[in-house]
């Protein structure tokens, strides 16, 4: 029991990211409204970003900006003192990708709305079937 509890406590960030990801995935599959699905998609993507940021964190590390004095480049830097910067870099890219996808998805939603006057998937499909 205590082992399970410690397992949960030491990895709670991972549990939260799984929860958020499942919320987003559920919204994308089960929701009927196109914009709601887009929101779900964004939650899904942010959850993955949270996961990556969690990989990067390091106990006893500070933010990855090296303390330096002007001119003294010989100052020795220990990797253990700073948080792992690589996941941060990857996630900057992922955030950019997510906003780009968001822009295109919203543009498509607007285009669909102008054609069918609705954002509900079932109503649109019914209109398509009528023809």
């Amino acid at each position: 029991m205590t082992q399970l509890l410690s397992e949960i406590l030491t990895k709670y960030n991972y549990w939260i990211y799984i929860t958020l990801m499942m919320i987003g995935l559920y919204a994308m599959i089960a929701k009927n409204n196109l914009v709601k699905k887009i929101v779900g998609m964004n939650i899904f993507q942010t959850a993955i970003i949270l996961f990556y940021v969690s990989i990067g964190s390091k106990k006893g590390g500070t933010i990855p900006i090296i303390k330096h004095d002007h001119g003294a480049a010989s100052h020795v830097v220990h990797a253990a003192e700073y948080i792992n910067p690589l996941p941060h870099v990857l996630m900057l890219t992922a955030i950019v990708v997510s906003v780009a996808t968001l822009g295109v998805a919203l543009a498509l939603a607007i285009k669909i709305y102008h054609r069918y006057q609705s954002l509900e998937e079932d109503e649109i499909l019914a209109q398509i079937r009528e023809k």
Partner: protein, 276 residues
Amino acid sequence: MKAAGLLIVILTGGLLIYATADFPPWAYPQSPASTHVSPRYIEKSIEETAVPNVVTAVLADYRGYDTMFETTVIFAAGVACFLLLRIRVEEGPEEQLFRHSLTGMTIRIKDGRKAPSDLEEFERIDAHWVPQDLIIKTVCRILIPFIQLFALYVIAFGHHSPGGGFQGGVILGASVIVLAMSHDLRSSLQRMGEKVNALLCAAGVLIYAGTGALCLAMGENFLDYGILAPLFRCDPVMARSNGIFMVEIGVGIAVMATMIRIYNNVSSAGRYDEGL
């Protein structure tokens, strides 16, 4: 659909939870992620690139190639939004509203008839125009220069503090979007027209890829800024730092222009006449 969705979610969640058991504990300093590749970035970034903000150094130098494509993704999104939404309206929208600024009366012109462009007291307003926005307008007008100044600071100071081309570019774009929201889309389009905007989009990414190609032309690998040292008149390490700065400027321009472009297209549904 809901039941199927729930089932998929539970299955996926189960798989992810199953895998989590074999992860190293959270924030464990000896985990492979913290000991294999990343220490070099932290220990060597000042020595090799003269950039104290390791994230910037990795973003624009060690993994600069990723960032070039990241900027390209944004550029592609801007082009895709334009391709999808932009409609050229010759006859104008169905209905145009004009407000007489002295009396506050509103006239309505339908079916693309000729608008009173010669009358100076009339100003064009949006369909859902709200009269009481003097405070918002004034505050935004005062704020915009400071927002832009901050954005430039973020771009320029990305080497030493959080920030960089991407964040600065978004803030710079946001300043124009704020103008479009507080006044209207037409006044922001007067400041930055569609064509200028589109050219800036391409120019930004072109600066990035061009810097890489310049390194190639000077005989080194793509994006190897060290070779640019003679151009900047400094040693190769400082040249890397300067190369990163050049690239960040390109990212800033591209991101700014694309954010504005997506906003313009989305908020006016491609008509470029009435915004939010």
